[in-house]
């Protein structure tokens, strides 16, 4: 009875949108890697397995009993922090930074999970400090402290892209969690002043990326190569695209990371402006649905968590697409559901499952009968 009820109250729309995106991503992974000639399991099959595992993760999170997620937020948060420390000490270096731990056949990127953990812990914290006239500055400082810990651990890997996402999540959540306007302004000014300081903690290649973002032609075969080739891929796609499997930038490997971080470039080349429009519409739908769940939740923790996770999705989508279009420096942020990669797929599906779980829970308390939220 309860089990059937849970399925009936599932927000199928958000899951379907994600699955359609996964399908598009899968086709795109095939196109982007069909000439890569990687030995062993082709990325297409791997990605299919990840999607399957992702759906399992979605339901694993969705089917937990009401309130369970809220209960385990703190242990999960400290657990993830511990794993980040382990990564920093004993992780696998790839591309100049330690982001990975090896789990048998699969490599794992715990910083992906850390983002979700941070959202949940902030939601829990702010839910406890909620004040109809707005949360004051004094209550905000510990929240910043909660973010700073994982931020520093990730920034030390170094992975400034992910670290940046933590900051965006923090900003998004303090807006949603109804900070006082004055406090918001104060923090905005402090943040603006902090940005230049970032320059001094960045590594050489990171500075290089920012500089080449400002002027890609300064190093067309080096740091600027990604951006230039990515823009060529997107631009050469034109209005209708070159056709599926007919892209040349990706299949001839002019485009690096063509199935992971630059998957959208391959997609935009083959499907053109029309295809990109459809993809953007799907993402917009996902984000809107997320915000809808956030604002309709009648539980503060659920509201903040849904809002925060939606901000998390939004940050990933916006940063990745901007990077591919040459509007943002190159950072290692994958496109949710579309980019190839297991950690990202599992994390995104779990986040989606958590959102669906929290959005469901309100009906239990409302007691107005079993009805779907999209009824």
């Amino acid at each position: 009875m309860t089990r059937r009820g849970k399925f009936a109250r599932l927000d199928w729309q958000i899951l379907l949108a994600a699955l359609v995106l996964c399908g598009i991503g899968l086709l795109n992974v095939y196109s982007g890697t069909r000439v890569a000639g990687t030995a062993g399991m082709p990325p297409f099959v791997k990605q299919l397995i990840w999607i399957f595992l992702g759906v399992l993760a979605f339901f694993a999170c969705y089917l937990t009993s009401d309130g369970f997620i809220e209960e385990v937020v703190w242990p999960v948060f400290w657990g993830v922090l511990a794993i980040l420390v382990v990564v920093l000490v004993a992780g696998k270096a790839r591309g100049g930074s330690q982001r990975w731990i090896s789990l048998g056949a699969f490599n794992f990127q715990p910083s992906e999970f850390a983002k979700v953990a941070v959202v949940l812990v902030l939601a829990r914290y702010f839910a406890g400090r909620y004040n109809p006239s707005g949360i004051g500055f004094g209550d905000t400082v510990p929240a910043i402290g909660l973010v700073i810990l994982p931020f520093l651990l990730v920034a030390l890997q170094p992975d400034l892209g992910t670290a940046g996402v933590f900051m965006i999540i923090l900003v998004g959540m303090i807006v949603i969690a109804c900070l006082k306007g004055r406090t918001l302004l104060l923090m905005g000014v402090a943040g603006a002043l902090a940005v230049p300081c970032l320059w001094f903690v960045m590594k050489g290649y990171q500075k290089q990326r920012v500089l080449t973002f400002l002027d890609p032609e300064r190093d067309p075969l080096g740091a600027g190569y990604h951006v230039i080739q990515s823009k060529i891929a997107v631009g050469s796609g034109g209005f209708l695209g070159k056709g599926y499997l007919h892209g040349t930038q990706g299949s001839l490997r002019f485009l690096p990371e063509q199935h992971t971080d630059f998957a959208f470039a391959v997609f935009a080349e083959e499907w053109g402006f029309v295809g990109a429009l459809v993809l953007l519409a799907l993402f917009l739908f996902l984000v809107y649905r997320g915000f809808y769940l956030a604002s309709r939740s009648q539980d503060r923790f659920a509201s903040f968590a849904c809002g925060g996770l939606t901000v998390y999705f939004l940050a990933h989508i916006a940063i990745n697409l901007s990077m591919v279009c040459g509007l943002f420096p190159v950072v290692g942020i994958p496109l949710p559901f579309v980019s190839y990669g297991g950690s990202s797929m599992l994390t995104n599906m779990m986040a989606l499952g958590i959102m669906a779980n929290l959005a469901r829970s309100r009906f239990t308390f409302q007691g107005s009968g079993e009805r779907s939220i999209n009824a």
């Binding site: 000439v35 309130g67 839910a127 109809p132 998004g172 807006v175 949603i176 969690a177 109804c178 080739q229 823009k231 060529i232 891929a233 997107v234 631009g235 050469s236 796609g237 034109g238 209005f239 040349t248 930038q249 001839l252 490997r253 002019f254 935009a268 053109g272 402006f273 990109a276 429009l277 953007l280 993402f283 917009l284 984000v287 809107y288 915000f291 956030a294 604002s295 309709r296 009648q298 539980d299 503060r300 923790f301 509201s303 809002g307 939606t310 901000v311 939004l314 916006a318 697409l321 901007s322 279009c325 040459g326 509007l327 308390f365």
Partner: protein, 613 residues
């Protein structure tokens, strides 16, 4: 209960804040959409071009250069496939192992290759390195068999100019090389491009426009590593035209071998047509070395050799003719009617002019000498006398008419002319008049006179034809790319009004040189009457007592000449041999001419015998 406490109706404040973030999201999506519109619709053409430039490359297919054939249609210059071992550094997985395996198959310098791979991996890993050139067929198949174990190495097939006779034809055929910046600027051939192979010297250069083909091209799709992925379209190359020559590879080889790598030149010609049968300048070089790209040290060795292997001595070297001019001086005396051939000159071994004594080569003298004996015994005193009687202008006129000191017009680039001095020349170089001593030595081909071996050959060919001067011809037929064959006709330059009895007399005397106990006995052939003249041209004036030339340092030794034709009655072949610092004409040069003639008549007999069958 705690749950219930936190429960609330929809919080308007939270909803409002969420809407703020929602608007930010909408703004971001709008920005992205605008950017995509800009890239994909507005700027599409620009990026499409960049993408095409990325993926499409034009690969040149070099046109095979046309053949050069000898008179018997045998190729003496051709284009062949050459197999080079190429390394693509990016694909080398195990440099040590692959190099060790290769060392068992191919001869190359492992250390140099290792170093090259290391350097290229850093600098430009997509570039190709040539590890070894001209692999033999067995080596190619072993490399191909071991493909799996040699991922970074491959065999590249390239068209290479090849000269089957090696050094033999070096100076006639010349060599080819990559077109230079200057040649590219000067050429009006719109197809010629950087990296193309053009003729640099010899016939290769003179006939370049016939031999060079038109390159084809391949439009290929490449990946980011520059590797070919797919052929888009292809225009096949057009191979160059064919050049038929008058040269005879057999005679050429005999001539080259007879030189025994001594410095000098041998040229054989058919006097009636001017057809060049053989043209050797020694020492030569191997034009195949130039085809594969000459190395710096190899070039240095060629350029600094004192015997000048890069100079065509038959065409560009000028030498005092010595006694070889005597028949022409005699011819001048006869034509001018100033000397009866029967008239006697006494030779006591020297001729006294003023207070100087001009020696005859035969210290004890020749006694009484008429014109026949003068030529046969090469008596210097007789021809000092002729020199004095004729004077420079009359000698010069006949010699120039016969072809000495003039450009013969042979179809090879870089021909130089020698010098036949006359009064006009004398006036130009100094204000002084001709002294008797100078007039006398012109009679024996010393002094200011100097000629190229080709000019000397032309002079004797004129004697052989009885006054008809032909342009020496190497190219007899051209078949350009379009297949329209063009014959190059034989070209008479002028007909001299020489009296037949005078020509006959000189020819008889030349036959005597070889057959009548003269100085040229070494050129005697059984069954065929050879006529010719030796020459031993002094390089340094030796004062005082006679010193044998062989005792002098190499660069001061005499030049040895022999020029002749056969059969005397109706000459078919005319040959000149000149050895720089070679000593005596009779002993050094005459055997070379004999060998060349012998080969000519042997081949002729074989051909006749075959025809009879």
């Amino acid at each position: 209960m705690t749950q219930r406490l936190r429960k609330r109706e929809q919080d308007p404040l939270i909803a409002a804040r969420v809407r703020v973030v929602q608007r930010v999201a909408l703004g971001l999506f709008a920005l992205l959409l605008g950017r995509l519109y800009w890239l994909q619709v507005v700027q599409h053409e620009h990026f499409r071009t960049l993408s095409e430039n990325n993926r499409l490359r034009i690969r040149t297919i070099r046109a095979p250069r046309g053949q050069i054939l000898d008179r018997k249609e045998r190729p003496i210059a051709e284009t062949q496939a050459s197999f080079d071992l190429i390394c693509s550094p990016i694909d080398v997985t195990d440099p040590e192992g692959e190099i060790r395996l290769l060392a068992e198959i191919v001869d190359f310098d492992p250390d140099e290759t290792r170093e090259k791979i290391r350097a290229a991996k850093k600098a430009n890993p997509y570039s190709g390195i040539t590890v070894a050139r001209d692999l033999r067929f067995e080596q190619v198949s072993v490399v191909e068999f071991n493909r799996e174990a040699l991922p970074g190495f491959s065999v590249l097939v390239e068209a290479k100019r090849s000269y089957p006779y090696g050094t033999s034809f070096a100076h006639v055929l010349g060599y080819v090389g990559e077109v230079s910046r200057d040649e590219l600027d000067q050429s009006d051939d719109e197809w010629l491009a950087m990296g193309d192979i053009v003729g640099k010297y010899g016939l290769e250069r003179r006939m370049d426009e016939v031999l060079r083909g038109i390159n084809g091209g391949r439009h290929v799709e490449v990946d980011a590593a520059g590797r070919d992925k797919r052929l888009v379209d292809e225009v096949p190359p057009r191979s160059g035209g064919i050049v038929h020559t008058t040269l005879d590879a057999d005679i050429q080889k005999v001539a080259e071998e007879a030189m025994e790598n001594r410095a000098g030149a041998v040229i054989a010609m058919v006097p009636k047509t001017g057809d060049i049968l053989a043209f050797v300048s020694a020492p030569g070089f191997d034009p195949n070395v130039f085809s594969r790209g000459i190395r710096k040290n190899e070039w240095q060795a060629l350029a600094t050799d004192v015997r000048k292997p890069m100079q065509n001595k038959g065409l560009q070297g000028t030498y005092a003719p010595g006694s070889t001019v005597k028949p022409l001086v005699a011819m001048a005396a006869l034509e001018e009617g100033i000397q009866d051939p029967k008239a006697i000159v006494r030779c006591p071994g020297y001729l006294q002019i003023g207070n100087r004594r001009f020696r005859c080569w035969r210290e004890k003298g020749h006694g009484t000498v008429d014109m026949y004996k003068g030529i046969v015994q090469s008596c210097d005193v007789y021809f000092y006398t002729m020199g004095l009687r004729l004077g420079p202008d009359r000698i010069a006129k006949l010699e120039k008419d016969a072809g000495l000191g003039t450009i013969t017009g042979i179809d090879l680039p870089g021909e130089r002319s020698g010098l036949v001095p006359d009064t006009e020349w004398k006036r130009k170089v100094s204000k002084e008049r001709w002294y008797d001593s100078e007039r006398a030595i012109l009679g024996i081909g010393q002094g200011a006179v100097h000629v190229t071996p080709l000019e000397m050959l032309a002079g004797y060919a004129t004697l052989a034809t009885g006054g008809e001067v032909m342009r020496p011809r190497i190219v007899r037929r051209i078949v350009p790319m379009d297949g329209s064959a063009k014959e190059i006709p034989i070209q008479p330059l002028r007909k001299l009004p020489w009296k037949p009895e005078n020509v006959a007399f000189v020819r008889r005397a030349l036959a005597g040189v070889v057959n009548d106990y003269g100085t040229g006995g070494a050129a005697k052939l059984p069954g065929i009457e050879v006529g010719g003249k030796t020459g031993t041209a002094q390089v340094a004036a030796v004062k005082g007592k006679m010193i044998k030339s062989g005792d002098l340092p190499y660069e001061l030794r005499d030049h040895a000449w022999f020029v002749g034709f056969a059969p005397v009655a109706d000459p078919e072949i005319c040959v000149v041999a000149m050895l720089e610092h070679g000593g005596h004409g009779g002993s050094a040069a005459a055997p070379i001419v004999k060998a060349v003639m012998q080969e000519y008549f042997r081949a002729k007999q074989v051909a006749q015998a075959q025809e009879k069958k």
